[in-house]
């Protein structure tokens, strides 16, 4: 029986080691030929080769030929970082008929040649150590299978506002089935209560048309006056329960879209708010739409209830909304006096900045105030101190309009809890990454769009809805979902069901099976962190590819 230095059995092992020069990136700073020679004598190694570039087509075919000709059952590549090249080499091994989980990579560039430049002997000695550790680990590796799961080509969209409708429309257009759940009697959301958009089109008309189109599309089921009460499962296979006026409906979907929107803040007493002569922008929109607007002297107050200690955020859309409404009033009643009191005007985007210029040209007056000295509203008057001029100004008004922020819906925390997705401190849904993954949640298969995430205009909500549809299409048009087999497993024989692993799993991938009295891993949810493996008192939980014997083989070879 062949044994290595530490007495482990190397019987049947056929390790191939490939040392990459990476042009001069590695070979320029250490002696690759010597490392290759050294590797040939390591236990289990039957084949070694130095390549100019192992990742080139020539290098890959050398690996594949060596696997076939020398019957290799382990491959070790010593080159750059596994973070960039592991998938390429592992899949190349798989093409040549070797289980890709028997491939191991050693980093002798980023973590050796590049950090010990001009110390050739030292770098060569370290590279040998690293290759020895990698080979030792490879000998302890076991074949694994990729984890595959089926995909249900159906999507649950929570919220029938402009964002949800846009997502539903695009998804149905791709031929996917959509389940749209709206809590109100009819779809449309906030836009139903708006007057006209900046384009001059009726907001309610536009969103109603879209709702009608979506409802009439085959493959779309709309549940109004309904709410989602239960969600379980994982990407590709969620089980959802919806409470509808006709009773509970249970279904399965592959992905979920959160598009439950936001609501404008209405706060009694805020700047004397009374819903009569002190109203919100939303109420002004409704008066303009219904034709009940009546005022010759209007003052609008920006950042009302926003950018303060309670709500630190800027609601983004209020400045443009105020300017839009001020222009509508001024256009219809040129003799009306319209003043906008602001702290900062944020008309983001070129077009909106132009709107502000046009508004000034129409005679709408803009005055800046200091947050510490807010305007006083009462007795048909608005008094404030002009932050630049320092003077106290007083306007006699018929109507005061408060530009209040959009705030998270009170129910959004319940919706978040159903899927265990996070919300920020203001109650808005928190995406996986503000710039890199703005429409995704960290949890796979769940997406967010529209004002549920942060206040947006109707155009942005629609764009985000379409964006989400494209993200989902990329998932659901796959035949099946495939993920790495590097996941945890729990030995059903030795597990005592203490549930210690259940508490440390950040992905809720472990369940306690009441019938068998032990814990089980839901492989599809497992991300392979190994928290369970290091916690398990009976060593029943292990992380494939990082089992104790695999890591210990590497440690023993230091």
């Amino acid at each position: 029986m062949k044994q290595n230095k530490t007495g482990e059995n190397t019987e049947g092992l056929r390790v191939g080691v490939f040392i990459c020069d990476c042009g001069s990136n590695i070979a320029g700073h250490l002696d690759c030929a010597e490392v290759t020679k050294y590797a040939a004598d390591l236990p289990g190694v039957v084949f070694t080769k130095e390549n100019l570039y192992t990742c080139s087509e020539a290098g890959i075919s050398e690996i594949q030929n060596a696997i076939r000709e020398n019957n290799l059952n382990r491959v070790v590549v010593a080159s750059c970082s596994p973070r960039t090249h592991h998938p390429l080499f592992a899949s190349s091994c798989a093409q040549a008929g070797m289980n890709p989980y028997l491939f191991e990579m050693v980093n002798i560039r980023d973590q050796c040649s590049w950090v010990h430049m001009g110390q050739r002997d030292i770098a060569t000695a370290k590279a040998k150590d690293l290759v020895r550790m990698g080979v030792a680990k490879s000998t302890a590796l076991e074949p694994q299978k990729d984890i595959e799961s089926s995909v249900i080509r159906k999507i649950l969209v929570i919220g029938g506002g402009i964002a949800g409708l846009s997502a539903a429309e695009a998804l149905a257009g791709m031929g996917l089935e959509v389940l749209l759940v709206e809590k109100e009697e009819r779809c449309g959301g906030l836009m139903l209560g708006l007057n006209v958009l900046e384009t001059g089109k009726s907001a309610a008309g536009q969103v109603s048309d879209l709702a009608a189109t979506v409802a009439a599309t085959s493959g779309v089921t709309v549940h109004t006056a309904s709410r989602v009460i239960e969600i379980s499962g994982y990407i590709g296979n969620f089980r959802v329960v919806i409470e509808t006026p006709a009773g509970k409906v249970e279904d399965t979907v592959g992905c979920i879209v959160v598009a439950c929107g936001a609501v404008p803040l209405v706060e009694e007493g805020l700047f004397g708010y009374n819903g009569k002569d002190v109203i919100t922008q939303m109420e002004l929109e409704q008066r303009l739409a219904s034709g009940s607007f009546k005022a010759a002297r209007v003052v609008m107050i920006q950042c009302a209830g926003a950018r303060n200690a309670t709500r630190e955020y800027c609601s983004r859309i209020c400045c443009a909304t105020a300017v839009k409404n001020a222009m509508i009033i001024k256009r219809k009643y040129p003799l009306a006096e319209v003043h906008v009191l602001y702290r900062d005007m944020q008309m983001y985007g070129d077009e909106k900045e132009q709107m502000l210029w046009d508004a000034r040209g129409m005679g709408i007056k803009f005055h800046v105030f200091d947050q510490k000295k807010p305007p006083r509203v009462g007795d048909g008057k608005v008094t404030f101190q002009h932050a630049v001029l320092g003077e106290t100004k007083e306007f006699t008004v018929d109507l005061t309009v408060l530009s209040t922020p959009l705030v998270a819906r009170p129910e959004s925390s319940q919706v978040a809890a159903l899927m265990r997705v996070p919300c920020d401190k203001n109650g808005f849904f928190l995406e996986a990454h503000a710039k890199l993954r703005p429409l995704d949640f960290a949890a796979d298969g769940i997406f967010v769009c529209g004002s549920a995430r942060y206040p947006v205009t109707s155009v942005e909500a629609r764009t985000q809805g379409l964006g989400v549809a494209s993200r989902i299409g990329a998932i659901l048009f796959k035949e099946k979902l495939v993920k790495s087999g590097i996941v945890a497993e729990i030995d059903q024989e030795t597990c005592v069901g203490c549930m210690g692993c259940l508490n440390v799993c950040p992905y809720e991938a472990i369940i306690f099976n009441r019938e068998t009295g032990v814990c089980e891993v839901k492989e599809i949810l497992c991300k392979g962190c190994g928290n369970c493996a290091s916690t398990c008192p009976s060593h029943s939980a292990v992380l494939r590819g990082y089992k104790p014997e695999q890591l210990l083989a590497q440690i023993r070879a230091i």
Binding site: R83, N107, Q111, V115, M117, C529, R556, I558
Partner: protein, 67 residues
């Protein structure tokens, strides 16, 4: 004994942060002493005390867990 003591250090590095940082150090050509041996894990949550003790038992003078 002659010469300076050079400790042998074993580092357990999280694939997503510390290991990436070590790669970045390379890409940036930062030079550091060669007496460090990095063992990649998918998360430092995988490390239990036994691995650290095994590191010392196998000749490490220091064990670094970074993640």
């Amino acid at each position: 004994m002659s010469g300076e003591f050079t400790p042998k250090i074993v580092m357990f590095a999280c694939n997503w942060c510390a290991y990436s940082a070590a790669d970045l150090a390379g890409v940036s050509r930062f030079q550091y002493p060669p007496n460090l041996r990095i063992i990649r894990v998918m998360c430092t949550g995988r490390i239990n005390p036994n691995f650290i003790l095994q590191g010392f038992e196998n000749g490490a003078d220091g064990v670094l867990v970074a993640g």
